[in-house]
């Protein structure tokens, strides 16, 4: 039961990451591209948590926290770069 649902969720998030990749390639503006990168980071967080469930270990949670923080900081830096042209004035 859980294995089937895990396979379904892995497939769903893999498909979501493929759609994000397609959006990164074919986006018209830089804002959409940054948004697709941010969505890709959140989907990779979900895939790491799913790997932690399927392996039965806790070792992925630190990596998940680090990826979440790095994704947030990098998205804010990208948005500031779009707005101002530099990051640290």
């Amino acid at each position: 039961m859980i294995e089937t649902a895990l396979t379904f969720a892995f497939g769903c998030f893999g498909l979501a990451m493929l759609m994000n990749l397609w959006k990164i390639i074919t986006a018209e503006g830089v804002g959409d591209r940054v948004l697709a990168l941010d969505t890709m980071v959140i989907n990779s967080i979900a895939i790491l948590v799913l790997m932690g469930i399927s392996e039965g270990t806790e070792i992925f949670f630190e990596a998940t926290m680090i990826i979440a923080m790095l994704g947030f900081v990098s998205t804010v830096a990208y948005a500031r770069f779009m707005l101002r042209g530099n990051i640290i004035e």
Binding site: M1, I2, T4, A5, L6, F8, A9, G11, C12, F13, L15, A16, M17, M19, N20, W22, K23, E28, G29, G31, D32, V34, L35, A36, D38, T39, I42, N43, I45, A46, V49, L50, G52, I53, G56, E58, F61, T64, M65, A68, M69, F72, T75, V76, A79, R80, M82, L83
Partner: protein
């Protein structure tokens, strides 16, 4: 009890995967850049929340210990997703303020991050060439 936890885990996994796909499909399906902002920041966050609830249930009911890392990740994601959306929307509004492809606000005021005089009300006359920034 273990059977109920099994079913609940599977249901939350399916809900999380479905909302993850909905978020990314909305990202490539929606037509406008401002409405495209809705799908990843709401539906994908909900999908990741479903996966984290699954991990919490799985570690408590099946593995037999209570893990609070998921609560930290959930709190962090649910705090940072609106901030990210706000930053990207603000950058988009400021980059498109001369164009006319910003959506209507539904009111007689303009977007809150723009000053009133920043919005070019009508296309300026023939002196646009003189307004190029000089390096």
């Amino acid at each position: 009890m273990a059977q109920i936890a099994d079913y609940l885990t599977a249901v939350f996994l399916v809900i999380g995967g479905f909302f993850g796909v909905v978020g990314s499909f909305g990202l490539i399906k929606l037509g406008d850049s401002m409405s495209r902002l809705h799908a990843p920041t709401k539906a994908t966050t909900l999908g990741v929340g479903g996966v984290l609830i699954t991990s919490l249930l799985h570690s408590y009911a099946i593995e037999g210990y209570l893990s609070v890392h998921e609560l930290m990740i959930t709190l962090f994601l649910f705090l940072t997703a609106p901030i990210t959306a706000l930053f990207i929307a603000k950058a988009h509004i400021h980059r498109h303020r001369e164009d006319y492809d910003l959506p209507e606000t539904g009111d007689d005021t303009c977007w809150a991050v723009l000053e009133k005089e920043e919005v070019v009300a009508e296309p300026l006359s023939d002196s646009l060439e003189d307004m190029k920034p000089t390096e």
